[in-house]
Amino acid sequence: MRAATEPRLAEATAVVERPESASDQVLIDRARAGDEGAFRDLVERYEPRIAATVIGMLGPGDEAEDVGQETFIRLYRSLERFRGESSLGTYLTRIAINLSLTALKKRKRRISRFVSQDETERDLPEASWDPRGELERKEDVRRVREAVARLAPDHRTVVVLRMIDGYSTREAAEILGIPVGTVMSRLARAMERLEKDMKESHDG
C-alpha cells in the first residue's frame, strides 16, 4: 500500500527551471514535490551506474531491466525518508545490489526446480583466455562476463562494486554493511577464481 507521505507524479508537470547542473538534493526536493521531470532527471543521471551494477550482477536481459526499474521505483517510494546520510549513488547501488541478490536467489530456485546441477554446469558456455590477442579482446570481454556469472553471489557482488562500478574497498564495505577486510578477502578470492577460470578454459 502506498505510504501516506509518498509523492504522486504530477500528470501535467509545471514548467520548472531544471538546469543540467541541478544537484541531487535539488532534484530530490522537486521530485518529492511531485515534479516528474526532476525524478526523470535523477533516473537518467544514475542509469549508467545502476546499469553497470545490475547488468554486472545479472547479465543483460529482462531480469536486469526489471531490477533496474525496481531500483528507481524503490528510490521514489523512499524519497520522503531519504535523509542523505550516504550519497544518492551509494544509496541506489545498495538497493540495486540487494534486489540483484534477491533476483539471483529466485533464479537459483527456478533453475534447481527444472534443471539438475549437472546440466547447469554442462550448459555453461566454454571460455578461452588469451591475454595477448587484441583481436580476441571482445570475445575475452564476453568470457570474463560469463566467468563473473559463475562466481558465488557474495564474490560476484564485490567484483561488481570494486572492479566494474569503481567503488573503493571502504565504499563497497559501507554499501554491503560488511568489514573492509571481508571485502578485500572476497575480492582476492574472486579474482583468483576468475583468473583460474580464464586460464583453464584457455588451456583446455
Binding site: 500500500m1 502506498r2 504522486r8 507524479l9 500528470e11 516528474e36 525524478f39 526523470r40 533516473v43 537518467e44 542509469e47 549508467p48 546499469a51 553497470a52 547488468i55 554486472g56 543483460p60 536486469a64 531491466e65 533496474g68 526499474q69 528507481f72 521505483i73 521514489y76 591475454p131 579482446r137 575475452d140 570481454v141 564476453r142 570474463v144 562476463r145 563473473v148 567484483v159 572492479m163 566494474i164 562500478d165 573503493s168 574497498t169 578485500m184 578477502s185 575480492l187 582476492a188 579474482m191 583468483e192 576468475l194 583468473e195 580464464m198 586460464k199
Partner: protein, 135 residues
C-alpha cells in the same frame, strides 16, 4: 595478507610507502608475482571494458510509466483495504451476536435435552414434538 590482496591494494594505490617499496622490490625479482599482477590487470581491464553503461533506450520513460501505472492502481488497492477493514469488523460483530443468542438460549432452557441443543435453540427431537410441529 596474501599476495593477491597485496596486489589489489598495490593497484588501488592503497599501500604505505614501506609496503609499496617492498612490493616493487618483489615485482623486480619474482616473475611469478609479476605474472599474477599482469593477470590481475588484464582481468580488471576486461571487466571495465565489459561494464554496461545503460539499459535499453528510453529506460527513464519506462520507469516513469511504471510509476504512473502503480499510482493509478493505488485507489483500487485502497478500496480492497477498506473492504477488508469493514468485513473484519462485521465478522466480529456477527460472532458476538451469535454468542449472545447462544448464551440467552442456554440460560432460558426449555429447548433441547442437551447443552448443544439448548445453545442452538433446538427443540427436543421426540416423536411427540415432531407430531406437534406437524400440526
Amino acid at each position: 595478507m596474501d599476495d593477491r590482496e597485496l596486489l589489489i591494494r598495490y593497484r588501488d594505490g592503497d599501500l604505505s610507502d614501506e609496503e609499496l617499496a617492498g612490493v616493487e622490490e618483489r615485482l623486480k625479482s619474482e616473475p611469478d608475482l609479476r605474472s599474477r599482477r599482469e593477470s590481475l590487470e588484464e582481468i580488471a581491464t576486461l571487466l571495465e571494458r565489459g561494464a554496461a553503461s545503460s539499459f535499453e533506450p528510453f529506460f527513464a520513460t519506462r520507469v516513469v510509466a511504471r510509476l504512473r501505472r502503480a499510482d493509478s492502481s493505488a485507489p483500487v488497492e485502497g478500496m480492497y483495504e477498506a473492504l477488508r477493514w469493514i468485513f473484519a469488523r462485521v465478522a466480529v460483530a456477527c460472532l458476538v451476536v451469535m454468542l449472545a443468542i447462544g448464551a440467552y438460549s442456554a440460560l432460558e432452557g426449555g429447548y433441547g435435552g442437551s447443552v448443544v441443543d439448548s445453545v442452538m435453540g433446538l427443540p427436543e427431537a421426540t416423536l411427540e414434538t415432531a407430531l406437534a410441529l406437524g400440526g
